[in-house]
Symmetry: D4
Subunit: 151 residues, 8 copies
Amino acid sequence: MTLSIYLSGEIHTNWRDEIESGCAAAGLDVTFSAPVTDHDASDDCGVAILGAESDKFWHDHKGAKLNAIRTRKAIQDADIVVVRFGEKYKQWNAAFDAGMAAALGKSLIVLHSAEHQHALKEVDAAALAVAETPQQVVQLLTYVQRGTLPA
Amino acid sequence: MTLSIYLSGEIHTNWRDEIESGCAAAGLDVTFSAPVTDHDASDDCGVAILGAESDKFWHDHKGAKLNAIRTRKAIQDADIVVVRFGEKYKQWNAAFDAGMAAALGKSLIVLHSAEHQHALKEVDAAALAVAETPQQVVQLLTYVQRGTLPA
Amino acid sequence: MTLSIYLSGEIHTNWRDEIESGCAAAGLDVTFSAPVTDHDASDDCGVAILGAESDKFWHDHKGAKLNAIRTRKAIQDADIVVVRFGEKYKQWNAAFDAGMAAALGKSLIVLHSAEHQHALKEVDAAALAVAETPQQVVQLLTYVQRGTLPA
Amino acid sequence: MTLSIYLSGEIHTNWRDEIESGCAAAGLDVTFSAPVTDHDASDDCGVAILGAESDKFWHDHKGAKLNAIRTRKAIQDADIVVVRFGEKYKQWNAAFDAGMAAALGKSLIVLHSAEHQHALKEVDAAALAVAETPQQVVQLLTYVQRGTLPA
Amino acid sequence: MTLSIYLSGEIHTNWRDEIESGCAAAGLDVTFSAPVTDHDASDDCGVAILGAESDKFWHDHKGAKLNAIRTRKAIQDADIVVVRFGEKYKQWNAAFDAGMAAALGKSLIVLHSAEHQHALKEVDAAALAVAETPQQVVQLLTYVQRGTLPA
Amino acid sequence: MTLSIYLSGEIHTNWRDEIESGCAAAGLDVTFSAPVTDHDASDDCGVAILGAESDKFWHDHKGAKLNAIRTRKAIQDADIVVVRFGEKYKQWNAAFDAGMAAALGKSLIVLHSAEHQHALKEVDAAALAVAETPQQVVQLLTYVQRGTLPA
Amino acid sequence: MTLSIYLSGEIHTNWRDEIESGCAAAGLDVTFSAPVTDHDASDDCGVAILGAESDKFWHDHKGAKLNAIRTRKAIQDADIVVVRFGEKYKQWNAAFDAGMAAALGKSLIVLHSAEHQHALKEVDAAALAVAETPQQVVQLLTYVQRGTLPA
Amino acid sequence: MTLSIYLSGEIHTNWRDEIESGCAAAGLDVTFSAPVTDHDASDDCGVAILGAESDKFWHDHKGAKLNAIRTRKAIQDADIVVVRFGEKYKQWNAAFDAGMAAALGKSLIVLHSAEHQHALKEVDAAALAVAETPQQVVQLLTYVQRGTLPA
C-alpha cells in the first residue's frame, strides 16, 4: 500500500525535507508531491512564460493559475494531504488547499504550532490528525503504513 | 431561476445585510444562507450543548464540528458562494470554505479590499468574480439573474 | 434552510418521539424519516408480500432488502443522519447505516450512552457530534438552524 | 485482472492468514490490505504519537482517526471488501466498514457463523456473498478470478 | 417521503394501470413515470419529427434516441425503478433500463412470471425485490412508505 | 414530469422565442433558461460592474466569467440542453456548452441548418436529436413529454 | 494508450477468441476481460462454494451474485465494453451489462446480426459503434488505437 | 509526477510535434495523446469499417462516433487538456472538447493567436492558461513539473 502524500502550505522552512528524509530513513513506501517552493518563480511564472502584465492583479492571476495546474493534480492524486501553517503570512492558499482536500475526501493532516489552535479550529475539525512537528507526521505515516508505534 | 447563495467569511461587519437588503430592494429571486454570526455562540456551542471540556483544543473542536453541520449543508445547497475577507484576523475558515466551494464546482465570488490582493491570489484565481464592495455583489447577482447592468 | 433528518437505529425506546416532539415544540423547520419501527412487520415484510421461505436466511434476506428500499432513500435524502445505539442487541444495522452516511458525506450525529464509548470509537470518529440524550439532539438541531443556544 | 481485497473486522483469530495463505497456495493474482491488527497499538496510536489525553473519549478519538487514514485508503482502493464478524465484542467498526463499502459500490463479502445470521441480515442483504469459513472465501476468489470451482 | 417510481418494460398489458390505480386506492404519496407506451408512436417518432430515413436502422435509431430523452430523465429522477418483463418479445430495452438503474444506485424491483426466473437471474440479483404480480408491487410500495403489511 | 431546458447558442435571431411560444401554445409543462442575450451587456458586464480594464483580453475575461455564473447554473439545472448554431460568427461558446452538457450527461439537442452538417459532426454525434427548425424542437419536446406526434 | 476491453454477452460461440486473436495478430496494446464462459460453472458456482439450495431461485441467485463480483469489476475497469448478442436465448444479462456500461460512461460497442436490429434499437442508440462481425471489432480497435484503416 | 496530456484541436499544422519534441528535449516526464490526425481516415473510418452510407449525415455520424471512442478515453485519462484553435475551419470539435474537459475538472490550456481572442473568451475563461505558441506550452509544462522558468 504505497501512500501518496501532498505537502501543502508554508514554503519558508524546511519542514518538507524533514518529513521526506524521516520517511526515507524509516524505509516507508511513500511518494511526495509539493507546490513549487521557489517563492520568486511561483510569483512570476505567469508573466515569465505568457507575457508581462501592467496590472499586479493580472500578474498574480496568471501565476496563480499556472500553479493551480500543479497543485490540483497533486491534491487529486494524493491519499493524504498534509497542510502546514507557519508563523508568518496570511497563508490563505494553505487553508484553501485544506478545503479542497476535505471536499474531495482526502485524509487531511494539519501541522501547526499551538499558537494557531483557535484560528485553525475549523480546519482542524476536518482533519484526521493535528500535529505540531514534522517528526510526528513521520511517526503517523509509519503507523498508517506499518502499524508500528515509535519506541 | 432562483439563485441560492451562501455568504461565507467575516462576521464583524454588516456586509451580509448590505447584500441581502440590496438584493431585496432590487426584487431579485434569491435565497441566502450564512454561518452562525454570533461570535460567542459560535465559539461555545459545542460545550454548551454537549458538555464542558477542560482542554481548549477540544472545546473548540466540538464547536467547530457543530458549525460544520450548518456550513457544509449551506455550501452544498448553494449555487454561488460569496466569501468575504475582512481586515482583521486570520480568517482561515473563510479560505477553507472557498476551497470546498471550488472543489464542489460552485460559482465562487470573492469579496476583499485591494490590500489583500496578493495574499489572496490563489483564492481569486479559482473565483468567477473578485469584488471590493457588497454593492458590486448586488450588481453581479442582478446581472446574473436578469442580464441588466447598473445604470 | 429546511433540514432533512434520518433517525436510524434503536427501535425499542421512544427516542425518535422525543426528538420529533422537541423540534416541534421549538418550531424548527425540519423533516424526519425513519426505518419501519414495527419490529414484527420489519422482520416479516418480505415473506408476507413476496411469499414464504422455508429457510430462515432467505426469510430474513427478502425482508432486509424491502427495508433497504426505504432506508437507502431516507439516507440519500437526508442532510443529517442521527444514529442511536441502545442498550440491547447487536445493532449492526445501525453501524451499517452510519458507515453509509459517512461515505455519502452526510453530517453524522451519534447518540449513545457513555457505556458504549470505547466500542463506538470508530463510528464517533466519523461523526460531527456525539450526544447522550435526545434533548441534546434537539438543542443541536436548534443551534444548527437558528444559531441559538439553550438558555 | 488483479483483485484488490480489504479484509475488515475481527482481529483476534487468524482468519486473515487463512485467506491469504489459501490464495497464495492457489497462486491467485490478488493483493490484500487490512486494518492494524495489533490491538494495543490500534487503541493507543493517537496518544502515543500526538500526545496524551486525560479524557478516555479523546484518547480513543485520536486513535480512531489515525486508524481511519489507513482504513479509508484501503476501502477506497479495494475491489472487494471482506468483513468478518467474530464471536465476541460489539464489532460496530466492522459493520461501519461494511456500510462504507456498500455506499462506495464495492463488492461486499460477509463472513460469519450461522449464529449471527438474523442480527446481520441488513449487512448480508447488501453483500454479494455470505460465507461461513475462510476456505469458502478462498474458493470464491479463485472462482471470481479464474472461473474454476473447487474439485 | 414522496416516492418517485419509473415503470419500465412491457407495454402490451395493463400492468402500469394496475399499479397506479392500486397505489391511488391505497392513498400512497407516489408519482409515476413511464416510457411512451403507444407502440407506433414510439417506433416512428424520430422520422415523424426529424424527417424520413430510407434505411430501417436509422429510422429506428432516430426514434430510439428521442425516446431516450424521456427514459433517461425518468430513470434519473426515480427513487425506485420497476422493470416488467412480459411473455413476448426480446425486451432487451427493459433489461438495459434495469442495468442503468442498477449502475445509478436506484432501488430496482423486477416483475416477471416464474417462467423467466432462470433467464433473469442476473437482473434479479441486482434487485431489492422480485415480484410476480402488480398487486405485490402495490403492497411493496405501501410497506416502503407506511410500514404496514397487507391484512 | 416538468422538463427544464437550457437554450444555448445563437443570440441574433428569435429562435428562442419560437420555441418558447410554441411550447406555450402546446401547453407543455416546461421551464426555459438562456444566457444573457443582450450582446452589449454580455460583452461589457465585467468591466461595468467590477471596473474598467485597459487590456481587451481582461475586459473580455471578466465578462466571460460573470456570464459563466449564469450559464453553468443553467446547464447544471437542465434536463435538456438545446444548442443552436446560426449562420454567422465562430460560435465557439455554443460548442463549448455542448461539450459541457455532454460530459454532464444532459440530453443534448442540436439545432442547425444542413450547411453546417459536416463541421458539426462531432457535436451531432453526442446529441440525442439533430433538428433544423425551432418547430421541430417544439414537436420533440411535445413528444418527450406527452408521447404524441404532430398531426 | 492501452485499451481495456470487456467482452460481454454470448458464451456459446468463439467470438471472443476471434477478437482476441485478431488484436494479437495486429499487435495492439489491449487487455481483455470476460465473464466466466463455462456455462455449468457459471450456473452452479454459488451452491458449489456456499452450500446447496433446495429452491432453484436461490440456487441461481447465489450464483448470479458471485458472477457479479467479476463482471462489475470488469465493467468498471473497462474503457470499452463490447456486448455480443447471439442467435439464441433471452440474453437479458447482456442487455443489462450494456445498460450498466452506458450509465457508467463507458464506450459501448454492440455486436449482433441484422436480424436483431429492431429489437436492439435502444441498446444500439446508446452505442458508439454497431458491428456485425468480430473482424469489424478488431478493425475498430485498430483504428481507435492507431488511426489506421483496413487496407 | 508524470503528467498525462491530451492535445486537442487543429490537425493541419505541426503544433503537436513542436510540443512533443520540446518536452522530449527538456526531458520531461510526460505522456501525450491526440485524436487521429489523418484527416481522410478520420472522416471515413466509420464507413470503411462498418459499411457504406448513402446519406452524408450518417457517413459522418458513424465516423464521428468511432473517433469519440478515442477522444473520450484520451480526455478522461488526461491531467491536462491543451486545445489548439488554428486559423481555418469552424473547429467546433475543439471547442466541444474544451467544454468536456472543463466539465470533467481537467486543467485546460488554450492555444490560439491574438486574432481569435474575442471569439474564444468563454473558452479562455475556463482555462488555467492561454498561450500563443507551442513553445510557451513547453515552458508551461516544464514549470508545472519542475518549477523552473525559462532562462
